[in-house]
């Protein structure tokens, strides 16, 4: 019987080693260690043995059984590992294949510029004010110190709808309307919007374009406050190293009036093609609100004062992104629009 056991063991071990996959090994397990297997049969057959031999034989069977089990488990672990490896090998992919695209659009570059400016001033306590694009002559001109027949009206040839109604030539009427509505209270607003002028569309002119203006009215608002505010704007918008300079200018609705240059963000002031070799780039017009404008809207110009500034998002986008033709903003060529997708530094 002992010899039989030894033979069984040899046989089992041989079959374990010969198994090449988990299934075959499981078959071996069932065949030798299962309830109907020869080892179990041997144990059952121990009844025929003399009583004193039974424990010895039982122990021997158990030893063989354990030995076979151990070898089988070891083999099993190995084969399972192999199986997993084979599976993983099969599942491997070409990681250089393209991913499933997530297609998203993006802001129009002008909106990108406008929102950047809006957010920057919102951070300084400004609100956003909007108004109609078709305006009364009164709000577009008269309330802004541009009475009928004023020579400065030449500066902006307008699209009239009737004698008293026109497409606004700037966003300043929003300021006039806000002042009227606020009835003498302090104001701190940014007014973005579309404006219209009688220009033939070409690389630098567009009959429709965008403006963004700011207005602050309060007690003792000073020109130094305007300069400080513009400097904060310039640094946030164009970089911390930007210097600003003010030059005297003229707008009918401000006195004094200024134009603001920033030190060139491309060359840092050394002179390049962006700044036309001057080191400076003209960015916006501004000034202290003209007392006539304040008075027309019911503000006491001796007690309250204010400043206003205005700029063109087209110009800023053209400078910032190097766009050479203003018409690109209105053609809506996807090859153009889609370039304003990514985040900036």
């Amino acid at each position: 019987m002992e010899a039989q056991l030894q033979q069984l063991k040899e046989e089992a071990l041989q079959k374990i080693t010969a198994s090449v996959n988990v299934k075959e090994l499981n078959d071996v397990r069932v065949a030798y260690l299962g309830k109907k297997g020869p080892i179990t049969d041997l144990l059952k057959g121990m009844g025929n043995l003399p009583a004193e031999e039974r424990p010895k034989m039982g122990a021997l069977v158990n030893v063989v059984r354990e030995e076979v089990t151990t070898v089988l488990e070891a083999r099993m672990t190995l084969l399972q590992e192999q199986a997993i490896n084979e599976q993983l090998e099969k599942e491997s992919i070409d990681v250089t294949l393209p991913g499933r695209p997530v297609k998203t659009g993006n802001h129009h570059p002008l909106t990108r510029v406008v929102e950047e400016i809006e957010d920057l001033f919102i951070g300084m306590g400004y609100e956003i004010a909007e108004g109609p694009e078709v305006e009364k002559d009164y709000y577009n001109f008269e309330a802004l110190n541009l009475p009928k027949g004023h020579p400065a009206r030449d500066m902006q040839d307008s699209f009239y709808i009737s004698e008293d109604i026109l497409l606004r030539t700037h966003t300043s009427p929003v300021q006039a309307r806000t002042m009227e509505a606020k009835e003498g209270q302090p104001i701190k607003i940014i007014c973005p919007g579309k404006v219209y002028r009688r220009d033939n569309d070409d690389a630098t002119h567009s009959h429709q374009f965008t403006q963004i203006e700011g207005l602050v009215i309060g007690e003792n608002i000073r020109m130094s406050d305007l300069k400080g505010t513009l400097s904060v704007f310039a640094k946030k918008m164009f970089g911390d190293e930007r210097e600003i300079r003010l030059r005297p200018s003229f707008f009918p609705f401000t006195e004094p009036s200024v134009e603001m240059d920033i030190s060139c963000f491309k060359c840092g002031g050394d002179g390049c093609n962006v700044c036309k070799k001057t080191g400076w780039i003209e960015i916006l017009g501004a000034g202290m609100v003209h007392p006539n404008v304040l008075e027309m809207a019911g503000y006491d110009s001796k007690k309250l004062s204010g400043f206003a500034f205005g700029m063109g998002p087209e110009r800023i986008a053209m400078l910032k992104y190097g766009v050479e033709d203003i018409r690109h903003f209105y053609t809506n060529d996807v090859r153009f629009l889609s370039q304003f997708h990514r985040t900036e530094v």
Binding site: K103, Y196, R222, S224, D225, R245, L246, P256, V334, R335
Partner: protein, 803 residues
């Protein structure tokens, strides 16, 4: 305004500043110098030549062989100009010269003959053709006999000069004259002025014996002075005067006209010269024109006048349109011997209207429009008389003929230094302020802590305290203004709820794959109401620049479609655009159209192309509808949105839906009509437009969290067979209504119509989810609820349960 720095230096010491530096100082002080133009263009080797001999070129009809004395030698030059003659002093560019056009002069052979240089026209020296006097417009320029061969021509022609081009704002009309610019430069550099001289010997005869003057329109013409100069000889002006005019951008004609233009440039006061004999009547009457009255002006145009146009007449008919242009009938000509010089103050508004009506803008009208200095009217007349005496041999008659009711009181401004400093946020001392006023040549008195200022009449822009603030600040230097921020109650800024939601709408649409477009508001009549959600009377321009941009739009779709067409024509295989913008509806009580903010979107072409994994999809109705539904979900409105079949011109009749918010139409979504697609060469294209204002202004419930339940939900599927026409939306509504409070979700998961179905029928399958947040549902409860749904579907939609 073009300012010759050499000419300028006659009135003010420019301290030998490099013109570029001078220009920079002027710019920083307030008048922008747009360009600094070197009139020499760096030319060398351009000298006076004397043509000793001229013979025809044997080989070429149009060429002449000239022997030219160029100072150090006599050399041969071939010249093709028709007006070259022996005995002339001419401009010679010698070998080595580089002309402004870039032409390099070299020794050359022309048809076998040697040529050692070039005889030049003024144009070849960089002078614009329109500035060259007519006599030399088509040939070489002939220098005066006094020119010395071999000497450089640059000083002779005033080309050794630098011109500053000023970009003047409308308030600074005082700088429309050399004297005005000199005042400005004097103030900047703290230098005094030198004024032009006007001295001449008066004749024994009196002007008033030659001429009478009457003004019948004193409001339009409060001041008029005429001087009479006789025995003049009309001829070419001296070279210095001609080249100064050319530097200022004025073409020389003859000495009389040139003198009036010279004084115009010098004083900013327009003058006009009449031929006295041609006036015929010894009389000048200024009046408003008779309606329909005619005059032939100097440019040989017959012009019909209106009753608000001011004219100068000889008592009978017009001889000039006041301040705008003279008449041909009284023009100075070569044979003129006696001239009347007019210097007047014409009201700006009147000249502006007249020049606009006749589309005639001139150096004169531009200055009258902006208002000339009342105190220079007489000075300019006297200066012209003296120049006529000096340069035309004229005899100036004694006195003048004058009417003067012009108010010449200077504007007075009282301002406190504290007010100036408060507004600027600075601490400029009183001393510094008064020193600036002195430099500006403003009369002032400092008393009682105030400055009493009389602004000179040349500075008509100075009227109020703020004007003085600007003068002080710009002269003190804007660089000196400190940087501060407004001191105030700090209040948070921000967007309104509408503005914030609009930004989220943009972000959503872009996340969904659409690019933001911005198109024009102005469109054509044809497009203005196409696809409009709502039409109203159109808003039309009075004077459009073109038919295509003449009316304000009432729908955003047409221009978006233009953009799609543009992109598709350029091989874009997907075009997905949206726009947020106003449409303009009718007229409100205020007279303005109602501006309604809309959102529109257009998609065309491929929607998804991930073909290597078998995913590929063209745009269709449901792609766009899904975007609209997602948007409504974002805005908390999805429960109130419904879609209903409708028909709209230009859109696919079977694929158009009106979008309704709580039963009110707020938008449309559709496929573009196939014939419209064909016209534009587009594949299937889908459009939608929403009244965004209405959507964003719709009130929504506050966002409030519903507890996440730990109890399971139970799903039941239903497959139905219904008539093909039955809208699935209707079925879904029936399910929702009949499902009771336990029914939480209805999801359409299958739709089949085709061969395996009976004709006219379709199969629809829904998955229903039942759920109670409080407990686990029993089978019985679900069966009960579900049976109610099935019953309702059968009764209300004739649906048969399938499978």
């Amino acid at each position: 305004m073009l300012v010759s720095t050499k000419w300028l230096a006659e009135y003010v010491n420019t301290q030998g500043l490099d013109p570029k530096d001078l220009g920079e100082k002027i710019t920083r002080a307030g008048i922008e110098v747009d360009a600094v133009i070197d009139r020499s263009h760096g030319m060398t080797n351009v000298v006076v030549g004397y043509v000793k001999e001229k013979v025809k070129h044997p080989e070429a009809d149009k060429l002449n062989i000239c022997q030219v004395d160029v100072g150090d030698e006599t050399t041969q030059i071939i010249c093709g100009a028709p007006n070259v003659e022996a005995g002339q002093k001419v401009i010679v560019a010698r070998p080595g010269a580089v002309l402004p056009g870039g032409m390099k002069i070299k020794k050359a052979k022309l048809r076998g003959e040697e040529s050692n240089g070039m005889i030049c026209s003024l144009q070849e020296l960089g002078i614009e053709g329109r500035l060259v006097s007519k006599a030399y417009a088509d040939g070489i320029y002939v220098l005066p006999e006094t020119a010395v061969p071999g000497e450089s021509v640059l000083p002779l022609l005033g080309l050794d000069d630098v011109v500053l081009e000023l970009g003047l704002t409308p308030n600074r009309s005082d700088a429309l004259s050399m004297l005005g610019v000199a005042y400005e430069v004097g103030a900047i550099l703290s230098e005094d002025m030198k004024y032009p001289e006007a001295t001449y010997t008066e004749s024994n005869e009196k002007a008033s014996d030659y001429l009478s003057l009457k003004i019948d329109a004193i409001e339009e013409n409060p001041m008029y002075i005429a001087k009479v100069v006789k025995n003049i000889q009309v001829k070419e002006s001296p070279l210095w005067l001609q080249h100064r005019l050319m530097a200022a951008g004025v073409r020389p004609h003859n000495n009389v006209v040139d003198i009036t233009n010279y004084v115009l440039m010098e004083y900013g006061q327009p003058l006009h010269a009449f031929d006295y004999d041609r006036l015929e009547t010894k009389e000048i009457v200024v009046r408003l024109a008779n309606e329909g009255e005619k005059i032939v002006t100097l440019d040989d145009q017959e012009r019909t006048l209106k009753s608000n146009h001011l004219v100068i007449t000889n008592g009978n008919g017009p001889v000039a349109i006041a301040g705008v242009m003279g008449g041909a009938n009284s023009e100075v000509h070569d044979g003129t011997t006696t001239v009347v010089i007019e210097s007047a103050y014409f009201a700006g508004g009147s000249v502006r209207q007249t020049s606009k009506d006749h589309n005639l803008r001139s150096d004169a009208s531009a200055r009258f429009e902006k208002g000339v200095d009342p105190n220079r009217v007489i000075l300019a007349a006297e200066r012209a008389a003296s120049l006529l005496a000096e340069l035309a041999g004229g005899e100036v008659l004694a006195g003048s003929v004058i009417v003067d009711e012009l108010d010449k009181t200077p504007a007075e401004v009282v301002v406190s230094p504290d007010f100036i400093n408060n507004r600027l946020g600075m601490k400029i001392s009183l001393e510094d302020m008064t020193s600036i006023l002195t430099r500006l040549k403003f009369d002032y008195q400092a008393a009682n802590g105030l400055l009493y200022i009389k602004a000179p009449t040349r500075r008509q822009d100075i009227k109020i305290e703020e004007d003085i603030i600007e003068e002080i600040a710009r002269m003190y230097g804007y660089d000196e203004i400190p940087m501060t921020l407004p001191v105030e109650e700090s209040k948070p800024g921000g967007l309104t709820s509408y503005q914030a939601k609009r930004r989220q709408v943009r972000a959503f649409l872009e996340g969904a794959g659409l690019y933001q477009a911005i198109t024009y508001s102005l469109t054509s009549k044809e497009m203005s109401q196409k696809f409009a959600l709502e039409t109203a009377p159109v808003t039309e321009l009075l004077m459009p620049m073109s038919e295509d941009r003449s009316i304000l739009r009432q729908s955003l779709i047409p221009h978006l479609l233009e953009a799609v067409t543009y992109n598709t024509a350029r091989q874009a295989d997907t075009v997905a655009l949206y726009e947020v913008g106003s449409v303009f509806l009718g007229e409100t009580e205020s007279g303005l159209p109602h501006e309604q903010e809309h959102l529109a979107a257009v998609i065309s072409g491929k929607w998804l192309d991930h073909s290597w994994q078998g995913e590929k999809k063209a745009v269709d109705f449901f792609v766009l509808k899904g975007i609209v539904e997602g948007l409504m979900e974002l805005l908390g409105l999805s429960k109130e949105i419904t879609f209903e079949r409708t028909v709209v011109d230009g859109l696919h009749p079977g694929r158009t839906a009106s979008i309704q918010l709580a039963g009110e139409e707020i938008g449309l979504i559709a496929q573009l009509h196939p014939s419209e697609q064909k016209d534009r060469d587009l594949k299937e294209t889908y459009v939608m437009e929403l009244n965004l204002a209405q959507v964003l202004n719709k009130e929504v419930e506050a966002l409030y969290y519903a507890p996440v339940s730990k109890f399971p939900s139970i799903s039941r599927d239903i497959a139905l067979v219904v008539d093909s026409e039955k809208a699935t939306g209707e079925l879904q509504a029936i399910i929702q209504l009949s499902g009771g409070r336990l029914l939480k979700n209805v999801h359409l998961f299958d739709l089949y119509e085709g061969e395996k179905m009976e004709q006219g029928k379709k199969s629809v399958a829904f998955s229903l989810t039942y759920f109670d947040p409080e407990r686990t549902l029993t089978d019985e409860e679900v069966v009960n609820a579900h049976n109610k749904v099935l019953k309702a579907l059968a009764e209300q939609a004739g649906a048969e349960l399938r499978g």
